[in-house]
């Protein structure tokens, strides 16, 4: 029997997701034995034309990482969609937009202004900006257009499964590959990670009080965190309650609060809104009857960047998707 064909592709990616595949180390050999990797631009020399030449659905599964922010990336993933039985959004950027998705607080113009004119090292008296087409001494050079808005993969093509994480951990990658090979996949649209919250598996969960109340919010730099005690109970925002488990509690083990790279648990449409809700519900419960609006505002003011914090990994997938630029 022919081995199933697998494609790996990256869009607006930092490369960490590729590194995560390389980090499978010895396991990668098992993968290579079981499947036929037919397209992996960082590692192998196959061209777009090779993919175009394939029959529709010929690729068993395409793993795509990175957010989508250029026309070419959009075209490429549409092509892969056509040729693939399954498409898996690999990593936070493809899944939710990821950290580069924070660019949705701005647009192309404001980003260019800063990067090519505003920074203090800049020497650009003529205000030169990158152009999709430039003639240099009669020679034409082209670069792809930079979009205003960063998109998640499923905003551009239908996605069958999601592998969460920045980057996804090796055990989940291997589980996913095994599930695909053995045909033991959950229902379409599923996130291939446990459907529990991080708090459910967190080693500090026992120290999380039944009735939590945040009298004040402290920022991680303002305190020395006790590694044995739930961070929320120490007054530091941890997004564990609204984040999916499966990462191996990586940040918690380094004594740092969760920032939500695994995305929300099942059923949530907007990770940031969920996080915001649970934090707001814990804030100043004890005195709530006595507080004036102003006092509540003051408490809330201890979270100076709510959108950036609660949507750190998921701005493009939010219900609002981006900031409205006036």
């Amino acid at each position: 029997m022919a081995k199933p064909k697998v494609a790996l592709y990256w869009c607006a990616s930092c490369g960490g997701c590729e590194e995560a595949v390389v980090d499978l180390a010895e396991d990668i050999l098992k993968v290579v034995e079981a499947v036929d990797i037919i397209f992996w631009p960082v590692a192998m020399d196959f061209k777009k034309a090779d993919v175009e030449g394939m029959a529709d659905g010929e690729i068993a599964v395409s793993f795509i990482n990175g957010a989508i922010r250029t026309e070419e990336q959009g075209e490429m993933v549409k092509l892969l969609r056509r040729k693939s039985g399954l498409v898996v959004a690999f990593g936070s950027c493809a899944h939710l937009g990821g950290i580069p998705g924070l660019a949705n607080f701005w647009n192309r113009e404001t980003i260019f202004e800063r990067v090519y004119k505003g920074v203090p090292t800049m020497d650009n008296p003529e205000g030169v900006l990158p152009q999709t087409r430039t003639a240099v001494a009669g020679k034409e050079l082209t670069i792809p257009e930079f979009w205003d808005t960063v998109h998640t993969l499923d905003q551009v093509i239908p996605v069958d499964y999601y592998l969460p994480g920045c980057a996804p951990p090796p055990d989940l990658i291997m589980n996913a590959i095994t599930a695909i090979l053995e045909g033991k996949l959950p229902e379409k649209g599923a996130v291939l990670a446990p459907d529990k919250s991080l708090c459910d598996t967190c080693p500090l969960a026992d120290s999380k009080p039944e009735k939590l109340s945040l009298k004040e919010v402290k920022r991680p730099y303002e305190v020395i965190l006790d590694p044995e005690k739930c961070f929320l109970a120490q007054g530091v925002i941890c997004l564990g309650p609204a984040t999916r488990s499966g990462c191996g509690e990586r940040c918690i083990n380094a004594c740092m609060p969760c920032r939500g790279c695994f995305g929300p648990t099942k059923g949530a449409r907007d990770q940031g809104a969920r996080s915001l809700s649970f934090v707001a519900s814990l804030l100043g419960i004890e005195e709530e009857e006595k507080m004036t609006d102003e006092e509540v505002e003051k408490l809330i003011d201890q979270i100076p960047d709510p959108a950036g914090l609660f949507y750190m990994y998921s701005l493009p997938s939010s219900l609002l998707r981006r900031r409205i630029m006036k």
Partner: protein, 136 residues
Amino acid sequence: MNEPTIVSFLCNWCSYEGADKAGNARLEYPANIRPIRVMCSGRVDTELVLQAFREGASGVLILGCHPGDCHYKKGNYKTRRRMLLLRKALAQFGVEPERVKVDWVAAGEGERFAKVANEMAETIRELGPLRLPLSG
């Protein structure tokens, strides 16, 4: 011209009655307010508010029982905190915080309902319709 839509979440135990009262008393309140009955203002999650915006609302008005009167004891306090925090986040999205308002209307306060609703309609009229990018 169509007025921009305002979705209003009304607590079943108080504000919904208040709105009813206003209606019965033929008090004038804006037609572009779409009431939705909820069991408690505390049930109005931030996701629900954003969903309303995504589906075309230009304003969201949440009305609950007066402080101390919530049937579930503290639902209204929770909503106040949530919405104040959400307003702050909305500003970062370029959405005017005034598009979300929380207030209290008791069952007997038909007039108060009309007043709050009219004020909200006025605010939204001034702000104009909310145009979310990439809607649909």
